[in-house]
Symmetry: C2
Subunit: 338 residues, 2 copies
Amino acid sequence: MSKKISLKDIAEAVGVSTALVSYVLNDKDEQTRVNKDTAKRIREMAKEMNYQPNQIAKSLKSGKSQAIGLLVADISNPFFGNLARAIEDEAKKHGYSVLFGSSDENLENSQRLIDTFINRQIDGFIIAPAEGTASQLEYLKKANIPFVLIDRYFKDLETSYVVIDNFNATYQATQLLLNQGHTKVAYVCYKNQLQHTEDRYSGYLQALLDHGNAEDSNLICEVEFNNAAYFREQFIELLQPDRGVDAILFSTNTLSIMGLKIINELNITVPDDLAVFCFDESEAYDLFYCPISYVKQPLSMIGKEAVKILLEQLRGKASSEQKVMLDVEIVARKSCQK
Amino acid sequence: MSKKISLKDIAEAVGVSTALVSYVLNDKDEQTRVNKDTAKRIREMAKEMNYQPNQIAKSLKSGKSQAIGLLVADISNPFFGNLARAIEDEAKKHGYSVLFGSSDENLENSQRLIDTFINRQIDGFIIAPAEGTASQLEYLKKANIPFVLIDRYFKDLETSYVVIDNFNATYQATQLLLNQGHTKVAYVCYKNQLQHTEDRYSGYLQALLDHGNAEDSNLICEVEFNNAAYFREQFIELLQPDRGVDAILFSTNTLSIMGLKIINELNITVPDDLAVFCFDESEAYDLFYCPISYVKQPLSMIGKEAVKILLEQLRGKASSEQKVMLDVEIVARKSCQK
DNA sequence: CTTTAAAGCTTAAACGTTTAAACAAAAAGG
DNA sequence: CCTTTTTGTTTAAACGTTTAAGCTTTAAAG
């Protein structure tokens, strides 16, 4: 019981052609008028021999691999892990498998993964695109390979995407902090050209302006990705008493966690010394001595929608790009109080 | 620039047979004495036409898909997310892609994923096996499909695996708590038949005994997987003052997190009212008001080793099963002090 | 009876590769 | 000059499917 069983093996065992076996096992025996008895014998033999169809051969014939490629920044980041899980579940429901790859926000990694996945004939992509990958997406478009962006998108690129309303997310969070009476609300973010980064900043800024506050570069802590030392330096600087910051809004989960650690180190008390509003979910938010307020993204919804849209495109209902913008949930807890 | 380019297209463009193109693009032009000039023309044309080999066709021919299947309980659990990342990186280095699937510790899900992956002709598995899946693994053995277990293993099943020294992990943690002067060290674990569950319990128990304490069922909180309500009930029961518990050892990361939440809810102070020792890593351990002690697993090492072993098996050096048991790191911090 | 239709099955090509074997032409050896 | 070797290339089969088209045999219709 070691060798793989093929259609041919079944055909020989039953004494028919492979065509007939194929018809029956694909439930096309009605349309192709296979004798009921023959069909039964084929089905029985397939079961007896424990036949497992070779998806590779099917794929080669059909040109469809029934697989989708998931490209994220880092699968070990729970944010992407949760997205991956939602995508896996939805894909599985429709008979699709998921290949994943982590780009680490790096251009070449992203390109290599795209190439690998194309070679593997994946039917489509779900991508959380890294900065500067617009040209890679252009290429996919030209090559007619369907894809859906998640988490991030490009304003000047016509693609399908499922993102959150980033502007509104930070707008609401900032507004909440301001309404609580905080006067110097700082903002911590990554320095990059991605649209969602800009949208989040705009939301923060607009809330400030609408509240009668002026834009203040002293309140902004903008750091590079993957540079913990630089973050530490900048963030500690932001917390110096002379800056007078009394509230902080973090714009991603990684920044939130890194920030909270330093706040603890410096023995700053939340929310008495400093109010805090974080982004995304983390077990840590519940376990912090002061329950952390956060912007909650509808991760399962994002994953589910992305798969749905991708499948529609695969099925040729590629009517046009679909752009979905989902609302976030503002979870306000003790950490943002005055 | 929409249609896929095949060997045939290049062959026609250059005016040679597909065989020659195949030889050249696989760098076999030396051995097969292809004319240098022809080879150059083929290479140039391939580049010009942006040829991307069809891995599906290659796989069908070779019987090797250059893909491995990763089966975990839940990819959104950071523990598995981190393992997945380590596995992805190591696999990528050797030209392998990774398909993943979450079983949710469920038998049928596990079987379905295995079947799907076999259909897809993955070359081998890396599996964190769910309870009761021994027979599924037996099947893989019989079918000669290479696999390596991670995190868990079965004592009476000859397989390759990469796990931690679970006995030692809980032994050391328990001993540390006892040496600090805690007298009633409770143990929180899942109720299942998995070997690592038993090993961890044995480690805890042996430490108690070696310290002159007796086994005490009042100190054990054993709960079912995926039943938060039951856990809450049992765990609160364990914390009742009359039980006199002064320290707790959690045996997994999910139990740790759930437990800490309830400890917070009940306003129990760590470590004054109760010492705590957790398992695995979590951002929350650093951000808890009292830094949490924990048993740190060498996740990248586990992932890396698992891939290495699997690849050795794939390359036919299937000398015999390889069993790797790695040491954990005991990170003792304030939470375990008296 | 003959013709037509229906039922039940097989043949063969195709998907994009790989690779052993065959072949032709040119070069070398005698 | 003929034979052998070398060089450079093509042919064709194979991997495991799918599926249009063709082929028998039997049944129905006239």
